[in-house]
């Protein structure tokens, strides 16, 4: 209960401190400031008072200190660029401007409740149809009016439908997951329940000592490691409190899986004998023992090559020079050390996540914008930005950009 007293005491701290920390809350409807700064080698997004979002995106062959890798394209930007915004990047859109998956983020099937995870683009992972469910969501701008949609529900990846299902929302399939109240008894059950032999792909990882990353690597072949993990089937699930790596070294894999509906989750093996992961929505920990853990870590290190850390989300800044029915063109010349090196990037606008910013009049030609995206930039196709998530608008100042609400 002592820790709860500390938690309670935290609840009593001065409101101005809380306000300063929370004003840039992603779901807040309050205004917030985002500062975007390219300092020396990096683009920096500043979120809220004193909050800095550092986005290092260097490429292995980028040698000059000002080289910044954006979606696979190396840019040579000058230092001191700034962008400020009051715009909330993670906002509650009006119903008509929501994507289908944003609208219907929950689903019921036979009395069981599911919550959306991620789009499923690989339809080969679909299994048999198991029924018709009701996807639903709420329009917060219309007194929480409930909207429903009858949807076909399918098995996904051979995983039991009381854990994950795939749902056809009309514009594509999406993985929905049930909230697991009871963790698996052991690692073997966890492995079998989620068909991890098929759906867990181990590649990019960091090697950490304590909490400090020593380097980033890519596993060249995960077959042997997967076999070693399967041999840990009897490793029991353990309780809260072991999710701490301060006294050990560890390898921390970044895991993405279509079937599991996850992006960049964590799968960690610590040399004191534990597997820690959040590939399902809860944080799970399994005690595999020191010998097995050290063996896995050793083999992983022997089967890997050094690489660069990859950003969770990439960011592109520039000035809108044209908006057509199909795309928005963004020029980053003013950010470049040599403005003649500027590139005009193409951001497709068919996706409502971008289109809605134009539809409500937020983005017009001449605006400075900040685009967040998860894909790459296709240099062979007019520098098309793939996987754009959202866009924030603004105006430049001091050689940088200021973004108002």
């Amino acid at each position: 209960m002592k820790d709860e007293k500390l938690l309670a005491a935290m609840g009593q701290i001065r409101e101005d401190m809380v306000a300063a920390a929370m004003e840039d809350a992603p779901h807040s409807q309050k205004s917030m400031w985002i500062r975007y700064v390219a300092i020396a080698a990096t683009l920096v997004l500043v979120v809220g008072t004193g909050a800095w979002w550092l986005m290092r995106q260097k490429r292995p062959d980028a040698t000059a200190s000002n080289d910044t890798n954006i979606g696979g394209i190396v840019r040579h930007y000058k230092a001191g660029q700034e962008v400020s915004t009051e715009q909330n990047l993670a906002r509650e859109w009006e119903w008509q401007y929501k994507t289908v998956s944003e609208r219907y983020y929950r689903m019921t099937l036979g009395g069981a409740e599911y919550c959306i995870r991620r789009e499923l683009t690989d339809e080969t992972l679909l299994g048999e149809q198991i029924g018709t469910g009701t996807a639903y969501g709420f329009d917060v701008y219309e007194n929480e009016k409930r909207h429903e949609l009858a949807v076909d529900v399918y098995m996904v990846g051979g995983i039991a439908n009381d854990l994950l299902v795939a749902v056809n929302l009309g514009d594509g399939y999406y993985v929905y997951g049930r909230e697991a109240n009871q963790p698996p008894t052991d690692f073997g059950a966890f492995w079998a329940d989620y068909q991890l032999a098929e759906h867990l792909q181990l590649a990019d990882f960091s090697y950490d000592i304590g909490y400090d990353t020593q380097g980033n690597f890519t596993l060249t072949d995960d077959a042997e490691i997967m076999e070693m993990l399967q041999n840990c089937a009897r490793a029991p699930f353990t309780a809260v409190g072991i999710w701490h790596k301060d006294a050990c070294s560890s390898i921390c894999f970044s895991v993405t899986s279509e079937a599991l509906g996850i992006y960049r989750r964590v799968f960690t093996i610590t040399d004191d004998g534990f597997i820690l992961t959040n590939i399902v929505d809860n944080s799970y920990c399994f005690d595999i023992g020191k010998e097995a853990a050290c063996s896995i870590i050793r083999h992983t290190q022997q089967s890997s090559i050094a690489t660069e850390a990859k950003p969770y989300v990439s960011t592109l800044a520039g000035q809108v020079v044209a908006i057509t029915d199909h795309c928005m063109l963004i020029d980053d010349s003013a950010l470049c050390e040599d403005e003649s090196d500027g590139i005009v990037f193409r951001v497709p606008t068919e996706d409502i996540r971008i289109y809605r910013h134009i539809a409500v009049g937020e983005v017009t030609v001449g605006d400075w914008v900040l685009v967040r995206f998860t894909g790459d930039i296709d240099a062979d196709n007019q520098y098309t930005v793939n996987g754009a998530l959202n866009i924030a608008t603004g105006t430049a100042y001091h050689g940088g950009i200021m973004i108002p609400e």
Binding site: K30, N181, D212, V266
Partner: protein, 186 residues
């Protein structure tokens, strides 16, 4: 609508105050509640309870910062709900993780004699936070006031998860050192 205008609606007992508050701060409060409860349904109930609590407490209250006031109400209601519901659950939501992390800040009772005093503890935490650089302070508050996950904080600040974890670990150690130095026992 400005906070002062919303508060004025509350004082006039105008029910549109709730409508405006829901629209303006619904997402914000829901995030705090969900961070604590890890359940959308439970979070929705606690946020609804927050609106009721706000209606019942304004007036007489006239908060200077409506967002923080509502956030605090949501936090308290949600933590109470967490305690009620947690006995049967073994899942590790952010509340359990944050509690286990904060446990590291607690000095060993054998080393100190002074009785626990919440006011003294709050003062010490405030002084500790005041001495921190703004970013560190905000990260600590986001983790232990709003109970954002390590990963959410990492994404928000463009850091790796391990860097945020490391930063919080060092801050907890520093806070513990301060509490020991000041003989504050829980």
């Amino acid at each position: 609508m400005q906070d002062s205008e919303i508060i004025e609606l509350f004082w006039q007992r105008d029910e549109s105050a709730i409508t405006v508050t829901v629209r303006q701060y619904g997402g914000y409060c829901h995030t705090i509640a969900y961070n604590i409860l890890q359940s959308k349904e439970d979070a929705e109930e606690c946020v609804n309870a927050t609106w009721l609590a706000a209606w019942q407490s304004i007036p007489p209250q006239k908060p200077e910062r409506l967002a923080t006031y509502l956030g605090k109400l949501t936090r308290n209601i949600s933590i109470n709900r967490y305690h009620q519901a947690n006995a049967q659950k073994r899942g590790m939501g952010q509340t359990a993780l944050a509690l286990s992390e904060l446990d590291e800040c607690i000095p060993d009772r054998s080393n100190v004699e002074q009785a626990y005093d919440e006011k003294q503890l709050v003062d010490a935490i405030e002084r500790f936070l005041q001495e921190q650089p703004a970013q560190k302070r905000n990260i600590f508050i986001r983790r232990y006031w709003a109970l954002y996950s390590i990963h959410e904080i990492a994404v928000h600040y463009g850091m790796s998860d391990s860097k945020v974890t490391s930063l919080l670990f060092r801050m907890r150690k520093a806070l513990k050192a301060l509490l020991v130095k000041e003989d504050i026992v829980l």
